[in-house]
Point group: C2
Chain length 177, copies 2
């Protein structure tokens, strides 16, 4: 089972920080990679690759062109699409059904304006609360529920740095030192 | 049991979007309010109050002066402090102990540079994974675990708008119409 996050409508510079948070969240909570649409942002791609170099992988970042074709092809290949939106069905009511459907998943996270075809393509429109908050928290809690907390145990390959959990302070091990 | 989120080192303009996401996340995942330190940002306060007016409350936003005095007083009044940091103990190993300690909690979320006194004041330094990601996802997953998913059932008082979960599309009810 592979899980990829889709970021729609990325805007260079304006969204740099929130998209970086979103990509790192996808990586830290067990997604295999991210495909983003909107404006291409090579700085962002480089930054995420640097994170993966230092903290381990694998984690893919790809720029996509043509969302509709991409969604269509994904579903034709047997994959499913989950769209995170505050207007969707409540996560607590649908997460079990989503977990039980054991095929590859795209988790789609909108930008400010999500075109209506996204709602229609989605196999599930899912609300992580019906309240306004953040696509970053929606994604993290969704993945945490999808993987039932098992993502917290994930280990990463070829990490250069490793943190050793501490009661107080910081302990970082440089594995190549 | 009351739970407040503390944001350290807010920077006006630069952090506006991420701090807004953080505040809305605190509200949507069951915190009673937020106290922020760093640069005062009245626009941010107004924006959060507008959200609470539209989507319901209660949810408090306060600007704090003097973190050390604030932490000291909180603990003297019997409250506890949880500091979210990638260097801390893993959430899966400490969340039960934190839940069982049934007193008011501050959940502290750093900015880019967290002074070492924060680690020392904290009753728990907690890592939501030892990987770099986002204070927004750390906060949401922490609160989701602290409240054991019950925060998803929370209702808000005096909301003007209400979303009715849908399979496709959007349904918003204006309660004053």
């Amino acid at each position: 089972l592979r899980v990829f996050v889709v970021r729609l409508g990325h805007r260079h510079i304006r969204d740099q920080r929130t998209t970086t948070h979103l990509f790192l969240t996808a990586r830290a909570f067990g997604a295999d990679g991210i495909i983003y649409f909107g404006q291409r942002d090579k700085e962002l791609e480089v930054r995420i690759k640097e994170f993966t170099n230092v903290w381990g992988g694998p984690f893919e970042v790809k720029y996509g062109n043509g969302v509709i074709e991409f969604f269509r092809e994904w579903q034709e290949n047997g994959g499913e699409i989950v769209h995170l939106t505050m207007y969707g069905l409540l996560i607590q009511n649908v997460i079990e059904e989503i977990r039980n459907s054991n095929v590859d998943k795209l988790i789609v996270v909108g930008g400010s304006k999500v075109p209506s075809f996204v709602y229609n393509f989605a196999d599930w429109n899912v609300a992580v609360t019906s309240q306004p908050h953040s696509e970053i928290s929606a994604l993290s809690v969704f993945l945490h529920e999808l993987f039932e907390g098992q993502e917290l145990l994930k280990t990463y390959r070829n990490a250069k740095l490793d943190i050793v959990p501490q009661t107080k302070g910081k302990k970082v091990v440089n594995k190549h030192a």
